[in-house]
């Protein structure tokens, strides 16, 4: 059905569903939020004078003679990235099943999405703990501050997404997410995809670009 035909049935000033318009407006504002954090990281990542630095394969010696081993673990982060990408696939499959009224498919794919999301958050908790043990904290240097703020805010977004999807999974389990209410899942899925596309930008910028 064309957009105009669909819009004719929705009695709003735009002819579009207000909830969907709201989530897209929110996503637009979030683009600007993460742009400032990414700029902050790019500007400050190479201005550190003490503590571990951002380069994964380089041993760095500080002016005071301290030697710092590389701290970023690319294989682990790559696994987290792959799972976050797959979670986007899983949530869209869950939505397709919700729209068809297939409750079992909805619950299965939503559970897979939740597994990937929880793994990603766990990966970040491990990574942050590992960094702190290696001497990199928010206060160590500008690289540390900008790194933790950028990836920490993203991790917070993933955690909120996990809680949101878990709520929908429980509703689905109780039979309270029928096909007619699939828009509730579509809105949560849009948020989840946004969290995914932000990581698509953060992953090369933070972990791969020297």
């Amino acid at each position: 059905m064309s957009d105009h035909a669909a819009a004719a049935h929705l009695e709003t000033s735009t002819g579009l569903d207000s909830r969907k318009l709201a989530i897209w407006t929110f996503i637009g504002s979030e683009c600007l939020f993460f742009a400032t954090l990414i700029s902050n990281y790019l500007v400050h990542k190479e201005t550190w004078l003490s503590g571990p630095g951002p380069f994964p394969h380089e041993v760095w010696k500080s002016p005071s003679g301290q030697v710092f081993e590389p701290i970023i673990e690319i294989p682990l982060v790559t696994l987290g990235t792959a799972l976050l990408l797959f979670s986007s696939l899983f949530v869209v499959l869950a939505l397709a099943n919700a729209q068809r009224g297939n409750r079992r498919g909805l619950l299965t794919w939503l559970a897979a999405t939740l597994f990937c999301g929880i793994f990603f958050v766990g990966m970040q908790v491990y990574e942050f703990t590992h960094f702190v043990h290696k001497g990199l904290t928010l206060k160590t240097n500008l690289f540390g501050a900008s790194f933790f703020v950028l990836t920490g805010f993203h991790g917070t977004h993933v955690t909120i997404g996990v809680i949101w999807l878990l709520t929908l999974w429980i509703l689905g389990l109780r039979g309270k997410l029928p096909a007619e209410k699939s828009l509730n899942l579509e809105i949560a899925a849009l948020y989840w995809h946004f969290v995914d596309v932000v990581w698509i930008v953060i992953f090369p910028v933070v972990y791969l670009i020297q």
Binding site: M1, A35, I38, V43, L183
Partner: protein
């Protein structure tokens, strides 16, 4: 009057979304693109990077950004349904993205200028 249509009407009026098969194909493409990103990194800067890898270093960042942009576009177009949905939604994503890109580039240029100026005394 209620600002929303009844759920049944809204669901029925949704523009048709891609099939599950299309979603899986897009997922595989995204996985391959991620593997290419990491492979490119290992080939260019990894512990066993050779002479060819070193020669690729000037192209590393543009290639990585191109791969990242391709992944971003695929997720936005197919998984977020921007390809099928109303154009207003695309505008709500693209317009802030343009501003975001300008902000990032402006800050990088400003900082590069600052450092060049500071270093030259």
């Amino acid at each position: 009057m209620d600002a929303h249509a009844t759920p049944t009407t809204a669901a029925a009026d949704e523009p048709s979304h891609p099939s599950s098969g299309t979603y899986v194909k897009i997922g595989l493409v995204l996985f391959v693109l991620t593997a290419l990103e990491v492979g490119l990194y290992e080939f260019t800067y990894g512990e066993h990077a050779g002479a060819t890898g070193h020669a690729l270093q000037p192209f590393f960042v543009p290639l990585l950004l191109a791969l990242s942009a391709a992944k971003f576009a695929l997720v936005a177009m197919f998984y977020m349904h921007l390809k099928q949905d109303h154009r207003l939604f695309s505008g709500l994503l693209i317009f802030p993205l343009i501003i975001a890109t300008v902000v990032i580039l402006a800050l990088i240029v400003l900082e590069a200028y600052h450092f060049a100026f500071a270093r030259s005394g």
